[in-house]
Amino acid sequence: MNMKYEIVIGLETHVELNTNSKIFCSCGGHSSPKEPNDCVCPACSGMPGMLPVMNKRVVELAVTAGLMLNCNINKYTTFDKKNYYYPDLPCAYQITQLNHPICTDGCVTLKTSEGARDIRIKQIHMEEDAGKLVHGGNSSFVDFNRTSVPLIEIVTQPDFRSAEEVVTYLNKLKSMFISGGISECEEGAMRCDVNISVRPEGSEEFGVRTEIKNMASFEAIERAIKYESQRHIDAIEFETEELVQETRRFDDVSGKTFAMRNKETEADYRYFPDANLMPIIIDDEWLEEIKAAKPEAIDEKAEQYRLAGISDKEIDMLMSNHKISSLLDDTIALGCNAKDTAAWILTDCAGILRKDGKTFNDLAVTAEKLAAIIKMVDEGKINRNIGKKILIAVVESDVDPIAYCKENGFDKKVDASAVESVIDGVIANNPQAIADYKAGKTKALMALFGACMKELKGAADPAVIKELLENKVKSL
């Protein structure tokens, strides 16, 4: 046989939301606490007498995600309980949405090597995360820091036809959610279940479906899909094994998938409505508020940056970090030039952070301070080098840029005659350097330049100094 096969994939993606508190209590949200069980209260550890109280922000972020993925936002949405026993699940049930999810029927368009592809979104629902087990010695320990951290689960229709499409989709979700402030999408904050089947090309019927659970890295997802689809094809083509509907796990080391449980032994989760949480009604007024606060769609935003002259590479950097893209947006809003500001952030700030072994996530510069520096440069009060000096002080010690500039005398206007007299002095004091230069050692000029810069404390434009110096030395 020489049949061609089509791979059919549907995805369930869990994304940790970027909220200040957990979904049903006031414990801190996504920001990872340092010690186990640091971020736990009677509610999220499932003690008797506690009641869940809905975090409004979770609803707003879920709606925002739904708007970004072109979903219907359901005005009436409810929570259900999913029952199963596991030590990391303190109540022995998870609060999730089964019957009335918050968003349904969306669509996202992917750019692939074969053109644009539409992936239909079946639904987005809100739910709480579980805790985690830590095994050590003869004991197992439970850490509830992650219990009740808010998640959204995005369920697609079986519309993917290759591992590449899946990875493109996940990268798009990631950029969208980061730039939209929905999730930081850090390591482990985005987890996928992959439903996969194969069928002869042209066939309308679906093949036997298997589900690979809980993968956190895009690379693992890609490898798992490639392995699993080949396993299905081999099973059909060479009758190597009988395919059954089952849940599998991907082993990162061997690169293979292994059966966890099949359809017959699948748990009955006994879903039912959670009586402790009243239905949530999203009225028009609230929906409009969320729409108004919604960040622009990622494609529109990237296009705007592109029009402003920001390079594709810089756009990629901005799109993958919500913090710096909002710093850029806020600084532009204060009247600064987009392209110039992007350079200040992506080149100058990045350089300073790198020197200190830090990343953009450590950057604490406010848009107001950055704009103050850029404006001083633009208005010619200081040159760019001085601006950079001030930026270092702002990044490292959070000084006030205008006050810092004054204190250090950076804002003193240095007129041309003052510069000239400094240069003359330097020439007069360095006869040996002049002689060396005349003898063809061009490097000697750099020493003179350095001396001028030192004396002028960087207060004059280096380019101007260099030109003046060179002309003077040459004419000697």
Partner: protein
């Protein structure tokens, strides 16, 4: 210690059932599975009373999770031949001004009937359930035991009100309770079928109560109504399902009772729960798991949710014509000790009188063995009718 699991203050004026949390006091809801559990916070109702100067005398015995007739199956109390509720007895003896209880399936109302006192099951959503050891979340409510309507009125006025910590707490305009409304033009209907289920002693008490109302100008009619049987079946389904789910957190991992013998996590769960729950709770868990299972959900749980709406509409219709519905609280004037193996069926049958109020969230006042049921937020009507009968006894 006959009535108390833990006595906190012998000058205290409010007793609190062991299904409600009191900060720092061992709270086990009558169950071994919560043995030694010390809550980190008090129930909202307890907090409100303490902030108004009331003090908690102690935690009173309840049947495990409040699921039995009147409190006969507590892990912690001694067995008696004649069944009485601990909090109701304390109130009857005059040891405390009032007591707080949680009405899940009628136990506090029946306890009031056995001790000849009153228990007000409040409208769902008017008293915060924050700090209730929850079993049947969609119908359980905090209520008040009192010897007379004055004390109930006083205490319920303190504990009722919106609470942000409870997502089902309502925002009502006023939480003012009265027991002196003019009842002379009020109309009450008696559910004939339910009265027929009661023994002669209960019937006699009902007749005396009705005569007293009539003497005060209240119109009393007898009506036929089949909703109570249907409501009971629906509530037993919802109540067991929700209870099964809510007690599933008691697994021996985090607090309370943990079995000594286990070789793995499954045995830790199974052995702890086998030892920790009594036979009635186990029956409720099994029944509740069954009605939620994939094959039964639609015909049992889902249908019960729809029955709830039908019953609520039917009762609403009756209460459009009448100010209150009058029924017995219990089938007999006395409960004798019985074997726990019979408990599930016994409680199921006896709840035909009480389940409608749990299912639909409306208030019910047990005045001895007579029950008055009213519209949502009509507690004052019930208290005023009861007050008129009370006055004759003075």
């Amino acid at each position: 210690m006959k009535y108390y699991v833990t006595q906190l203050n012998d000058k205290g004026n409010i007793a609190v059932d062991d299904t409600l949390l009191v900060k720092g006091a061992v709270t086990s809801a009558g169950s071994r599975i919560l043995d030694g559990f010390k809550p980190l916070f008090s129930a909202e109702a307890v907090e409100r009373l303490e902030s108004k100067g009331y003090s908690v005398s102690g935690k009173t015995h309840v049947g495990e999770f409040g699921l039995d007739l009147v409190g006969e199956f507590s892990y912690y109390s001694e067995k008696e031949d004649e069944l009485k509720g601990a909090a109701a007895e304390l109130v009857a003896n005059g040891d405390v001004k009032a007591a707080l209880g949680v009405d899940i399936n009628g136990a506090p109302r029946r306890a009031a009937a056995m001790s000849g006192v009153k228990f007000l099951k409040t409208t769902y959503g008017t008293v915060s359930r924050y700090g209730v050891i929850s079993t049947a979340a969609s119908g359980e409510t905090v209520g008040v035991y009192g010897k007379d309507t004055d004390s109930i009125k006083e205490v319920v006025s303190v504990i009722a009100g919106h609470d942000d910590k409870d997502g089902t707490s309502l925002r009502h305009d006023s939480y003012e309770y009265k027991n002196d409304l003019d009842i002379t033009s009020m109309k009450v209907c008696i559910i004939k079928d339910l009265v027929n289920k009661a023994d002669d002693a209960v019937k006699a008490e009902i007749n005396a109560f009705v005569d007293s109302l009539k003497a005060d100008g209240v119109t009393v009619d007898e009506i036929d109504c089949n909703l109570f049987e249907i409501a009971n079946t629906a509530w037993q389904i919802l109540m067991t399902a929700e209870t099964c789910n809510n007690v599933s957190r008691y697994d021996g991992v985090k607090y309370g009772h943990r079995a000594k013998e286990y070789r793995n996590i499954d045995e830790l769960y199974v052995n702890s729960r086998t030892e920790g729950f009594n036979f009635l709770t186990k029956a409720v868990i099994l029944y509740g798991s069954d009605v939620l299972s994939k094959n039964r959900y639609k015909d049992c749980y889902d249908k019960s949710l729809r029955v709830r709406r039908v019953v609520a509409e039917g009762i609403e219709k009756i209460l459009a014509d009448y100010d209150a519905i009058l029924t017995p609280v219990c089938s007999s004037a006395k409960y004798e000790a019985y074997d726990i193996n019979e408990a599930f069926v016994k409680v199921f049958d006896e709840s035909v009188f009480t389940a409608t109020a749990n299912l639909t969230g409306i208030p019910a006042l047990a005045c001895g063995k007579v029950q008055l049921i009213g519209k949502a937020f009509a507690e004052s009507t019930l208290l005023s009718l009861a007050k008129s009968v009370e006055r004759k006894g003075e």
